[in-house]
């Protein structure tokens, strides 16, 4: 069910996806400079998919791998709009101070 709540960790994930495009779970951990932990990122990603903030992309057809197929994550329109809303709030906060 879509949800408008956004935690700090979820915000970090949305920013990384907005900045770098589609990413794997491990790539999100590597690019977060220690903010995201490997032990918790997959739970957060699963929750964000449930909330409608992210979409899971199937691996490309031409990707050759002998391991399990790795899902990539992409921010949905709702995810992008939530991030925009957070940015607007932050700007207002800065102007107010």
């Amino acid at each position: 069910m879509p949800s408008l709540s956004l935690s700090k960790t979820e915000e970090v994930i949305l920013r990384l996806l907005a900045e770098h495009g589609d990413l794997y779970g491990l790539e999100l951990v590597e690019r977060s400079s220690g903010v995201l932990k490997r032990g918790t990122v997959y739970v957060t990603l699963g929750r964000m998919v449930d909330k409608g903030h992210l979409r899971v992309l199937a691996p490309p057809r031409d990707e050759v791998t002998s391991g399990l197929p790795r899902p990539r994550y992409r921010a949905t329109a709702l995810g992008h709009r939530l991030l925009d809303a957070v940015d607007v709030m932050l700007r207002r906060k800065v102007v107010a101070t």
């Binding site: 794997y24 032990g39 997959y42 739970v43 990603l45 002998s66 391991g67 399990l68 790795r70």
Partner: protein
């Protein structure tokens, strides 16, 4: 070569323990990333530390998800148990007035223990109960046999086993396992004869131990389970045997008057509290709340299932004791007939809660994708 990749064993374990949703959404991406990291390690020597570190993460993730799922299951089934526990504990606390006798404190200890056990039991799944049902019933019957042979004899009956200084009323603990075991046996076509044998064994052991009430409970539960599974022969057998135990119950109850740990709590509560009738009514209501609510929930769910049969049978069995208490004016259920039996009753209520929950909601760990109609 896929089986040689790291993480496969933990993934197999996760598939057994977690819901398919948790596996697909959370666990599988973690294992896929581990395998990718392992396959693309810069040097082969780096593979071992990668696997070790990743396995620590995966096991931590697995434990977290298992605990989280158990908590959700407990939360979805514990409301009835909490209500029941609160009401019963309240009744038991009456006995903790300044003049409270030791017997009442003992009752409260068992109520608290029963609450904790029930809450822990609500984290289980109906398929686990199903797997353990028949072996559990056989084990319970063997315990009754041990009581019949080596039990403590008091008031002309042989009902108790001395365990660690406590007198354990074994038959009270056997009601739920035997009823659930009979329901499970009836639901598997190949094991219906086992149910017949169990019912006959219960009757024989009840006569041997002079303990008619738990036997009556088991007969009522068996009769309901047999009727629900259309096993009319067994239903008739159980129904015909019931009057014997109903008529035997009052005489053995009066024989218990000389047994201090049975009548002690009843007598002291009656002596100390003039509102005895009110407590009796409250305790009976508390005992009946869960079965009534469960039967209502079962009525709402659709389709035959093992869970429905076992829950209805167990709920019916739990009706027997308060019904007898009302009929013969016996002591307060769970207070006078308390002791370790309280824990068994609480566990039975938790089992009903789990069965009703899983009868109403499909087990998330069972992959039902193949059951969806093809477009």
């Amino acid at each position: 070569m896929k089986s040689e990749l790291p993480g496969q064993r933990v993934l197999a374990l996760a598939r057994r323990l977690l819901s398919s949703r948790d596996v697909e959404r959370v666990f599988l991406p973690a294992v896929a990333d581990l395998q990718h990291e392992w396959l693309h390690a810069r040097e082969p020597s780096l593979r071992t530390p990668i696997v070790l570190a990743a396995h620590v993460t995966l096991v931590g993730l697995l434990v977290r998800l298992v605990l989280s799922a158990a908590f959700e299951r407990a939360l979805s089934t514990s409301l009835r148990a909490i209500f029941f526990a609160g009401l019963t504990a309240g009744i038991a606390c009456v006995g903790l007035a300044p003049s409270a006798p030791e017997a009442m404190k003992r009752e409260l200890f068992f109520v608290v223990l029963g609450c904790a056990s029930a809450l822990a039991a609500t984290t289980t799944r109906s398929r686990w109960i199903s797997a353990a049902a028949v072996p559990g019933a056989v084990g319970a019957l063997l315990m009754l046999l041990v009581v019949a042979c080596f039990g403590i004899e008091e008031g002309g009956t042989r009902r108790w086993l001395s365990v660690g200084g406590l007198s354990l009323h074994v038959a009270a603990w056997c009601v739920a396992p035997v009823v659930v075991g009979i329901a499970a046996a009836l639901f598997g076509n190949a094991r219906r004869g086992v149910a017949d044998v169990m019912v006959v064994a219960v009757g024989a052991l009840a006569v041997a131990t002079q303990d008619p009430v738990p036997a009556l409970q088991i007969l009522v539960g068996s009769c309901v389970a047999a009727a629900m599974t259309k096993q009319l022969r067994l239903a008739l057998l159980a129904a015909l045997a019931m009057p014997l135990f109903v008529f035997a119950a009052p005489s053995t109850m009066s024989a218990m008057e000389d047994v201090p740990h049975v009548t002690g709590a009843f007598a002291t509560l009656a002596a100390h509290h003039p509102g005895w009738a009110g407590f009796t009514a409250l305790a009976l209501m508390a005992t009946l709340v869960v079965p009534v609510d469960s039967v209502r929930a079962l009525h709402l769910s659709r389709g035959p299932s093992w869970e429905r049969t076992a829950a209805a049978a167990l709920a019916s069995a739990l009706f027997v004791q308060p019904a007898l208490a009302m009929r013969f004016g016996d002591g307060v259920h769970l207070v006078a007939f308390g002791g370790s039996g309280v824990v068994a009753t609480f566990l039975a209520l938790a089992v009903i809660g789990v069965l009703v929950r899983d009868a109403s909601e499909p087990d998330p760990t069972v992959d039902r994708a193949h059951l969806a109609p093809h477009p």
